[in-house]
Each structure stands twice: as C-alpha cells, then as structure tokens.
Symmetry: C2
Subunit: 202 residues, 2 copies
C-alpha cells in the first residue's frame, strides 16, 4: 500500500484535503508513482479507519465542504517505520519485453518500428522529467530544508538516469537488429564455454 504511505508523507508536511493531495502528488511524484483522483479519496477513507489520519470538516457556502486531513501519532509512527524498512520489490512488469521476446515471430522491420516508437516515448518522458526538475527548483520556498530538497532531487535524478539508460540500450539494440547480428550468433560457443560468453553477449 504505497499510496497510503505517500499520502502520510505529505500529510506529515502539512494538513491537506484530498483535492490538494491529488494535485501535489501529480506534480511531485508522477515520475515514480502516479495515481487517480478516486484512489486518493478511497485511500484516505481507509487510512482514516485505521486511525492513521483524522479530518476536520470545514463548511463552505458555495463549494462542497473541505475535509482537511491531518496525520495522527499512530500515522506518524506507521510512516516512519515504513520509510526505514526494506520492502520486497514488486515483481517486474515490462510488457514491451514480451514483444521483444516473441519478436522472432514477426519481421525485423516490425519490431524495429515498435522499438523506435518506444525510443521516442522515452525521450519525451526524459524531456518532461528534466523540465519538472527546473519547475520544482523554481517553486522552492526560501526556507525549504536543503536536506528535503536533496532527497526530492534524488528521485528526479533516478528518473533521468534510468530513462537515459533505457534510451541507450534501445539505441544499441536497434543497431544490433539492423546489422542482423543474429546471423553471427554462434550457438555452439554459447553452449560450450560459459567463461567466454562475452563473445556472444548480445
């Protein structure tokens, strides 16, 4: 339940409504955890029933009432213990590698076209995340704790590094496919000498 803890993390900064949370999560963590509006409200209800947050309802004349949530002591202790615990990673889900895995069943041109679109998509996401670095930099309060800023920036750095690594890999892979490297693949060598695998390292 990572979303629950992302919400706790934000409410530990300051009390907020579901509407506020939706916006702040969208601009700050969308490169490693995105969500939907409905999911935010549902998760708020759930963690309220667990006693991790509590709300204060503020009536408004011309708008729905604002339900301002704040973190409780139980919530703070849950949050802290979650942050400092190593959690088993989610099982990897990379659907486009299924396409690569079965690419032998289609033409080289077809899979090249898919990878080129993937490449364009990755470049676009890299641009977006680099822009978000500049945006968040421009929005820092003067009194923002540099240590907080450092950790926020680390997640952007990870996004950029990871995206760039994917872009590089696909670039190299496209070259291999276009040069028909599989024609040079030596199956016997692949099987025979595990110590010399680098020669066939695709």
């Amino acid at each position: 339940m990572s979303l629950a803890h992302a919400i706790l993390g934000w409410l530990n900064v300051e009390p907020m409504t579901g509407y506020d949370l939706n916006q702040v999560i969208e601009i700050s963590t969308q490169h490693f955890w995105s969500t939907s509006q409905s999911q935010i409200y549902r998760t708020l209800s759930k963690i309220e029933s667990r006693g991790w947050v509590a709300k204060e309802v503020i009536m408004q004349a011309d708008r729905p009432p604002r339900k301002v949530y704040h973190i409780t002591e139980a919530g703070q202790s849950e949050l802290e213990s979650w942050i400092v615990t190593f959690h088993k990673p989610l099982p990897p889900r990379i659907p486009w590698l299924i396409q690569v895995f079965f690419a032998g069943q289609v033409s080289d041109e077809a899979i090249v076209s898919v990878l080129e679109k993937k490449l364009a998509n990755l470049r676009q996401r890299l641009q977006k995340i680099s822009a978000s670095r500049a945006i968040s930099a421009s929005q820092f309060d003067e009194d923002e704790d540099p240590r907080d800023v450092f950790y926020w920036m680390l997640t952007i750095d990870y996004g950029e590094t990871n995206l760039q690594a994917q872009i590089d890999w696909i670039g190299r892979t496209l070259e291999k496919i276009k040069s028909r490297e599989y024609e040079k693949l030596n199956l016997a060598a692949l099987k025979g000498s595990p110590g010399e695998q680098d020669k066939n390292h695709v």
Copy 2:
C-alpha cells in the same frame, strides 16, 4: 492484458497445458513478467472464450485430464498485431523512491540502511539473471532458430543492463548521502540559472 499475449506467444510455438505454461513462463520470462498459477488458468479460460485458443482434452487414468491448448487463426492474428503495436507504457510504480522522497523525515543512517538492503537485493537478482542466461543457453535445441535465440537473449541483456544501472546509481547515491552532499546544495543557484544546473546536479 500482457499475460494473455505471453500465453499466445508460447502456444504459437507449440500446444501446451496450463501446467506446462506455468513452468515455461516461470523459467523464461520471470525477469520481466512473472505470474501465478491461478492467473494462467483464468487467462486461458478468458482467451478461449474469445476464440484465440482452443483445447483438446486428453483423459488420463491416474491424473486430472490434460487440457492441451492450441492457438487458433484468430489468436495468431491477435498475437501478431499485438507484437507489432506500440503500447502505452504502464504508469511507473517504484515504491522505494517514495521512501527516498520522504527520507528527509528520517535520519541519513536509516535511509542508507534501506538503500544498502536494496543494493544487496539488486546484486542477488543480477546474479540470478546471469545464471539464467547460462541455463537457457545450455537448454537450446540444436535446431533452435538463432533469430529466436537472439531475441530471447536480448531480454536477458536488458535485465542485466538495467539491474547494473540501478546498482551503479544506488552506489553513487550512497556516497552522496554519506558525504552529506546536501550541505553543499546551493538553493539560490538551483533557482537562478537553469543553464548551469549541472553544478547542483545531485
């Protein structure tokens, strides 16, 4: 529905039972798409009702009947069109970056400990995937199409490259935290000159 298409991909190689599929998927694609036994049977039912596969029931004396599924023409055309189409990537879900994002709320030591465990976990997965490269190499039939083998190996290569990139990033990041790089962070420079961001590039 990527699992449906992974199943179609395998059934396009040869007819199989759900039990067989569970095993072959576990050893071949677990580094980019893992699943559970129950999910395989449910997905088989679903794609059968869509007409993508059909089954032949073979009675056995002392075991449950084998339901051998084979791909239909409709299934083949669905599979091919899926493989050659660019699909919008799933929204990224990287829970441990939520921990990094809110690490300012705990001690450096606490987050360092989490990242060190993450590092150990990544190294373990890298070892496992490198071993699987050797294993699959040793299991190739002599008559395996080198082009198929090439694409299979690409997915392993991606896994290794990506894992190594993550390992490297966490290594660099641990150094930054331990050297308290955030003390040198210049907020004003970060805000002022977008062209010189590299100076503060964490």
